[in-house]
Homo-oligomer: 251 residues x 2
DNA sequence: TCGATGGATTTGTACCAACGAATGGATGAT
DNA sequence: ATCATCCATTCGTTGGTACAAATCCATCGA
C-alpha cells in the first residue's frame, strides 16, 4: 500500500478527512463546493471529484445536487441479539424487535412476505436439507420511524412448519419462536455467524443505503433439543445504524 | 432485480457484476481491459473506469497496472471470540490466537508494542478511568503466513498492572488474561461490542487492505468479580478475512 | 544458461469541456 | 399574500486527451 500519498486528489481528500475527524466539520456541515475546492487547491474539478468520491466511499459524506457535499452523521444504535431469543417480559405480546425499538421511544414497523422456496445452498446446508427439500421463508423489512432499518429473512424446514401459523402470511405477534416452541421444537442452542461486506445492489436499494455504507450480515441458526436445525435467520444490518452487543459470563 | 440505473457506467458495472456473481468470472479471473470494454460498449475510458471503480468499492475486484482488473477471492476464515477467554487445553502455553491459527495449519506471528498512554475518551469511559488516569496498552499486529491479519490493542488500568509483566514489553506466552488472574483480577464477565465501518487511512496501511474492504471493529470489555473493568481489547478485523461465530445455549 | 535491458501493454493520475438533473431562492402573476 | 414559474447554483454523467507508473515479456548480451 502506498504511503507517500503523493497524488493530488489524495492530498485534497486527506485534508478534508482530517477536518472531519477533528470535528472542524461536524455532522451535517457542508463541505466547500467543488468549484471552491478547485480554486483553493488550484486543481481541476475532476481531481476534486476524485477526492470527494473517496470520502463518499469511506462513508464520511454524502453528495446531492444543489445541496452540496455534507458530512454524515454515523452513530449506530445498540442491538442485543441475545435478547431476541430470551423470554419476553410477562404480558409482552410483541416480537423482540418491536419491543426493543419502542423501548427506545421510537416507532417500529415492518413488512412481511411469506414464501415457499428451494433455498440456496448456503441456507440449505445450514438447515440440513436435501436438494429437493423446500423451506418456508418469512422475509421482513423493518423500519424505525418510517426509515428502512434492516432486513430479516427467517427460513424454516417446510415439513416442520407447513401446517402452522408460520407458513401463513401475516404478523405473528408472539413471534415465530413461540410457534416453533408450540410445535415441540423449542430452540435450546443457537449459532451466530457475523460478517461484514459491502452491500449488493438489491440490498442497497431495499435499505436505501448511502454509498460507502457496509452491511453486517448476521446469520443465526437455531437448534432444538434433538440438535436439529429448525430456523435460519439471515439479517442484513446497515453498519452505520447498528452496534451489536453480546454479554458473556465465564465459567 | 435491477432497476433502470439509467447511467451508462451503471449499466457497464451491472453487467460485470452479474458476470462475477454468476461465476462466469470466478476468483482470480481477469476482466476485459479498459480499452476492450471501451470498444465493447462504445463508451469513453472515463465511463469504463467509473464502472470499474464501483466494483472496486464493492470489494469485488482489484486493479493493478499491467496486471489488469482481477476478481477478488473473498472467503473469510472462522473466528471464535468466545474461545479467547476459555481455558486453553492442558499444557498449551501459547495465546489463544496463536493456538487457533496453528490449529488450522497456518503460521501465526505478531508484533507487540507496549505503551503507557492517556486513553481516548472511548477507552477511558469503558475502563471507568478519570481524566488524568493512565492506561497500559499492548498493541499487537497479527500475521498469518506473513500477511497482516488483524490488530488487537488491549488497554489495562495502569494502577492495576504497572508492576506486572503486562507493563513490560514482549510476549506473554501464557496470555495477559492469565497474568490478570494471577494479580487477583480474573475476568468473570465480558461485554462484546461489534460494529463495522470503512477503515481509516492508518488502518488501511497497517493491514494492507484492498480498496472496498470494510473492517469489523470488535471491542471486548472484561470485568473482574468485583465488576470492575480490568481490560478493554479493541480488535480491528478486515471483513474479507474474518467470520465471527458465537455459540449460545439458552436457558 | 542466465541475467539485464528495453519496449509494449495496461492501469493511474490529471486535465479540459459540455450538458443534464435537481433544488433553493427570486421573481412575477393571480 | 399565495402560488406558480423561472433561474442560478451545484452536483452527476459523459466525452475527450495526455503522460506517468508498473509490470510482463521478448530480446540481447555475458
Amino acid at each position: 500500500m502506498k504511503v507517500a500519498r503523493s497524488s493530488l486528489y489524495q492530498q485534497v481528500a486527506s485534508d478534508l478527512r482530517r477536518a472531519i475527524y477533528s470535528g472542524d466539520l461536524g455532522p451535517g456541515a457542508q463541505l466547500p463546493t467543488e468549484a471552491h475546492l478547485q480554486d483553493q487547491y488550484g486543481v481541476s474539478r475532476n481531481t476534486v471529484r476524485l477526492a470527494l468520491g473517496e470520502l463518499v466511499n469511506e462513508g464520511l459524506v454524502t453528495r446531492a445536487p444543489r445541496r452540496g457535499t455534507i458530512v454524515r452523521d454515523r452513530r449506530p444504535l445498540l442491538m442485543y441479539p441475545q435478547r431476541e431469543l430470551a423470554a419476553q417480559p410477562r404480558g409482552e405480546v410483541r416480537e423482540a424487535f418491536a419491543y426493543a425499538v419502542s423501548q427506545e421511544g421510537r416507532e417500529p414497523s415492518q413488512t412481511i412476505e411469506v414464501q415457499i422456496v428451494s433455498p440456496v445452498e448456503e441456507i440449505a446446508s445450514r438447515l440440513q436439507l436435501g436438494d429437493r427439500d423446500l423451506a418456508v421463508v418469512r422475509r421482513r423489512l423493518r423500519f424505525v420511524d418510517g426509515q428502512p432499518y434492516n432486513t430479516n429473512d427467517s427460513y424454516f424446514p417446510r415439513t416442520l412448519v407447513q401446517d402452522s401459523e408460520i407458513a401463513r402470511p401475516g404478523d405473528i405477534a408472539r413471534g415465530a419462536n413461540r410457534v416453533l416452541e408450540e410445535l415441540g421444537h423449542k430452540q435450546v442452542r443457537v449459532v451466530d455467524d457475523i460478517m461484514a461486506r459491502m452491500p449488493n445492489q438489491e440490498e442497497a436499494e431495499r435499505l436505501q443505503l448511502e454509498l460507502g455504507t457496509p452491511v453486517v450480515v448476521y446469520i443465526r441458526v437455531g437448534y432444538d433439543s434433538a440438535d436439529t436445525p429448525v430456523r435460519v435467520a439471515v439479517s442484513v444490518l446497515p453498519a452505520d445504524k447498528h452496534l451489536i452487543r453480546y454479554e458473556l459470563g465465564l465459567r
